[in-house]
Symmetry: C2
Subunit: 341 residues, 2 copies
């Protein structure tokens, strides 16, 4: 197999560091790795697997000789440099929302739609974290029984808002007695006008609002799910909520299948064979997924699978995964693995 020259843009961030880890851990056939970031971070040393890398400033020329460039430094950086990278012959795997909904850009979760990669024109988009874990778990169900409808409420971790949000949660968590007066400067998002404490709270806002009253995070879940499944008619409804959890997004997912009377046992059996999915579902032993125990793991965990007694095709699932791994870095590396096959 030909060895690959790789670049990681946003190498010092929460996701960028995980991309480097996953490339090394999965023995991706790298010829060279170039770590890129902002001018401010240039010169930073990052050590992984016994080797030290020096971070360089991202400039258009950084991408000369690069085969695959991972981008995870925010939408504006992707908009500025992704086409520069493509122009120089690199294939871009972009972890931001910059290109996800563009018609000619594949939006890929390998377990679901790896075939979409074949049409790419230089940029491949990695979906939003909360979308990835949901579609990965629902794909085998959709394939076998059809899927008419999804109604999802999320329970999202602060690491999705970056390393500063983790620091904020840690600081606030020490101040139990004064929780309502705790200072906040990052969440719900650094760019927002108002900030609210996240410790001992639940914030029903992730990303900004659009004119419809939905948040961009909710619209990402709705629109990306339809695109990845290639089903614009699929009904998707979403409410996204940030919690005082460090890493690991959870989702309460209600689905209506295209078929009636499917048993819970049949869904179990199907999910147990699904790639990248682990079923944790045994009420008799209190076995169900929880974010605290999903942190650091590659898989998507599914439990609390139940039939709705009031709807003949309705089912509940509780889906949990590490938002920095399958939700971001791991999925990006899996896309790269598919590309070089």
């Amino acid at each position: 197999m030909k060895k690959v020259n790789v670049a990681i843009v946003g190498a010092t961030g929460a996701v960028g560091t995980k991309i480097l880890e996953k490339l090394l851990e999965r023995e991706f056939p790298v010829e060279s790795i170039k770590l890129l970031a902002s001018k401010r971070s240039a010169g930073t040393e990052i050590t992984a697997d016994g080797q030290t890398y020096i971070v360089e400033e991202t400039v258009p020329e950084s991408f000369e000789g690069v085969d695959i460039a991972f981008f995870s430094a925010g939408g504006s950086i992707s908009e500025k440099f992704a086409h520069e990278a493509v122009k120089r012959g690199a294939t871009v795997i972009d972890n931001t929302s910059a290109f996800r909904m563009q018609e000619n850009i594949p939006l890929v979760v390998p377990e679901v739609n790896a075939s979409a990669l074949s049409g790419h024109t230089g940029i491949i988009a990695n979906p939003n974290c909360s979308t990835i874990q949901m579609v990965a778990a629902l794909q085998p169900i959709r394939e076998k029984y059809g899927l008419e409808r999804i109604i999802v409420s999320t329970y999202q971790a602060v690491s999705g808002a970056g390393a500063e949000a983790i620091d904020e949660l840690e600081g606030q968590s020490q101040q139990f007695e004064n929780r309502a007066e705790t200072e906040a400067s990052i969440l719900p998002s650094a760019a927002a006008k108002k900030h609210y404490p996240i410790a001992f709270n639940a914030i029903p806002q992730i990303d900004a609002f659009d004119a419809s009253g939905y948040t961009l995070e909710e619209l990402k879940m709705i629109n990306e799910t339809k695109k990845i499944f290639g089903d614009p008619q699929l009904a998707v409804a979403a409410t996204c909520v940030r919690l005082p959890v460090v890493t690991g997004h959870s989702e309460s997912v209600y689905i209506e299948l295209g078929e009636e009377g499917v048993t819970v046992e049949a869904l179990h059996a199907l999910l147990e064979k699904a790639p990248g999915v682990v079923v944790q579902d045994d009420p008799s032993t209190q076995t169900y997924p929880m974010p605290l125990f999903a942190e650091g793991k590659d898989e998507v965990f599914v439990g609390r699978i139940r039939k709705d007694p009031n709807h003949s095709a309705g089912y509940h699932l509780w889906i949990v995964s590490d938002n920095l791994l399958k939700g971001a870095a791991l999925n990006s590396v899996q896309i790269a693995e598919n590309l070089i096959q």
Copy 2:
């Protein structure tokens, strides 16, 4: 107005102390207040509004001369003493799940079904905390447009599991760096075989599981909602999750109305006039309910009201309230106020 002799069973608990507070704060016309608890707590002094009360052990004779007895000491205590109280002429307002689903026992949220009180035969049940806030917010919508379906995912606070669960969350919150190894002995419920840390986690189990794979908390929301609304055909689906929040339950509620094309503005206008409900819903100023700011408040807060673009009668609401107040103590005192009117 005739003055009333009151007893509070479970007076030292999280809800019992709030019942005493609310009786005094709302100037309920008390002739006398008797605080009752277990033998272990007998002799405890409780001071409220400048007056000191001495807690007595609950025995059948405690209810001699009592007009209204509030029970909030667990289902087994209610089963043991509620009929003893009724036999002695008291009306019981029971905050446990012991009698809620019995056919001849009214299950009451005064804003929704105060009329059910007229048929009572000595015992009136106070619904589950997560049910109360949901039906209080949905009642005006149901009354005007009809309600076909509810799909709810909850975000519940630890104080619903008692004062010990609050202590557990506080202790675990100090141990940020060792979060996965944190010790747990209370949640998901003291009676459960396994316990999991709640700090920095989300536990999709509240109360025990039944054979169907649902938790009792989920079944309470489903069955109590149908009973309070007097609509056994109403489709209700629920997933209940415990969070690292001290007080204040939040709910992501999806509803389908009996009518199509209702505007979000019409729902706003309706809820703004609803008794006990406060609309906090302005995305342009990041205004929405959050549990941290609902703690200590009497009202049910509603926000994030949105139309489902894929379903002509589908809407989202985010409903938050203090689970110890409207979810328990306040609703019980409001039932008593209705009784003496």
